[in-house]
Symmetry: C2
Subunit: 302 residues, 2 copies
């Protein structure tokens, strides 16, 4: 079973306390696709410009990632530049050049339209909606990631697409903004009434929490002696999370808990190096070993 | 086996988004003693003024808390007043009146001096040191809580007492201040070289982390639909943590992990109501049930 992913494929310039990269491949869909590809085949929907060459495309080589839905257009690709604060808990966007993304209208190749599992990575809610509209039948499981920018500028569109989503992945401040409630249990309950039965609240270095009805699961973050670059951690989490669910072929509570851990695993790898450098070079054994480390991290006997 | 606790017994005025209490019993040693008393007998060392009456002292009635070391002096008790931010992650101290605490010199009753387990709650490091100096023999396990105020004003004293401490309980920003390192793994390693083999980093609503050599354990915070008053949460955590260790009679890794959970349990109860209102009215069954909830909160199968 394949996972359909729509989102950005981009170039990033990133500055963190550990260094600076002037130009590297990035984008929410890239991170999510690479992370998910360790678990399940991926179908990618995105757009790139002329500056995206075989060199960049090599990221998908040797992976079960179908890129028939990766549109190539004239002009440059989406570009984002940001600088992280010394503690890396905040980042400042220095530059955003939409470029080819400005006029992007996702078109699903015919052989993508039977997709049952969908991850709508962070992109305009209207584009997320358009992807759902092109599916031949109602999908089994749809997850969506978004950000405060869309709450500020496209809240109605966001609410429309949320009604068709099963899992919302969102960070804590965004959950508070979307719900209007500070308390995360209350916030999750309000968001669940907007559509998504499951709400995954990402708390960066503090881990993540799954709310499913009255059910709550807390996944820790792996303490790391060095966080090099937080860019793409949330997208890698989402890729691992959805990849694990598709691989499991079910999404009961046990599968969701396990998926939270595999999401955490992929997020923890992502931040160890700049950009995609760490998650492009993983083995299944490394992934499984880190999942076991997560189990050790929280294990106790009463 | 008894747990010796030194720290403040105080009156607090607290304002949170959920209400305001003009005067209530508080103090680090009070919270810690009440929390620990569900697990083990406690010997309390502190000082109170004339405003501390039988009404306040009732908090210890029916508990295994020996108060022979609770000195009573003329004048008023220590008073603290604070207001929490709307999200309760910050608090502003509105007033601090040291009163009888200004001249306090802890004097251990003779029958306290064989104490093997000691919790030095947040108070001047010189007083914490004086308590250790009055013990007849080297204690088995000493835990210490402190705050940024003592790092700013009595760092040398703090470093002296840290050399004689096994467990340091500290919040994340204080760990960063004390170590001079942002990364918590690095921070814990630096602090371990100052004395305490075990460093417990409290992260409020995000849980807590135990560092013991290269060993790391993450305890989640219990998501609560209402946090009424965070005052005393850390002291209640410390009381539950030390109480569980003394009860276990050992402090290997498994015992420390379990103690982290019982600390989290007591902290999670403490914040549910103002002041001591929740933790003074617990049953062993409620405590055990919440510990099981913590296990459920983090459980997953790979």
């Amino acid at each position: 079973m394949s996972l359909l992913i729509v989102g950005t494929v981009a170039f990033d310039a990133v500055e963190t306390p550990h260094g600076k990269v002037d130009r590297m491949l990035g984008g929410a869909a890239t991170y999510a696709a690479v992370a998910a590809s360790y678990f399940t085949p991926v179908r990618l929907v995105s757009v790139v410009g002329e500056d995206y060459t075989a060199r960049e495309h090599a990221i998908f080589r040797g992976r079960p990632v179908n890129t028939d839905g990766l549109e190539r257009v004239p002009g440059p690709s989406f570009f984002w530049s940001g600088r992280y604060s010394p503690d890396m808990n905040d980042r400042t966007t220095l530059d955003t050049q939409l470029n080819c993304l400005a006029t992007f209208q996702p078109k699903l190749p015919a052989h993508y339209r039977d997709s049952r599992y969908v991850f709508l990575a962070n992109i305009a809610p209207s584009l997320q909606l358009s992807v759902l509209d092109q599916l031949k039948r109602k999908p089994t499981l749809v997850a969506l990631d978004t950000m405060n920018y869309w709450m500020d500028t496209a809240l109605d569109d966001l609410k429309t697409v949320l009604r068709r989503v099963h899992v919302l992945l969102i960070n804590d401040s965004e959950a508070r903004q979307l719900s209007g409630h500070h308390n995360l249990i209350e916030a999750a309950a309000i968001i669940q009434r907007m559509g998504p039965k499951a709400v995954v609240i990402k708390r960066g270095e503090h881990g993540s929490t799954l709310f499913l009805g009255r059910h709550v699961f807390v996944a820790p973050a792996m303490p790391l002696s060095r966080v090099t670059d937080p860019t793409g951690a949330g997208d890698s989490f989402a890729g691992g999370f959805m990849g694990a669910l598709v691989k499991a072929g079910k999404h009961d509570v046990a599968a969701l808990r396990r998926a939270m851990i595999y999401g955490s695993v992929m997020g923890s790898f992502a931040v160890e190096r700049f950009g995609l450098d760490r998650i492009r070079r993983l083995t299944p054994a490394q992934i499984h070993a880190r999942a076991k480390q997560f189990r050790h991290l929280v294990h106790f006997d009463l």
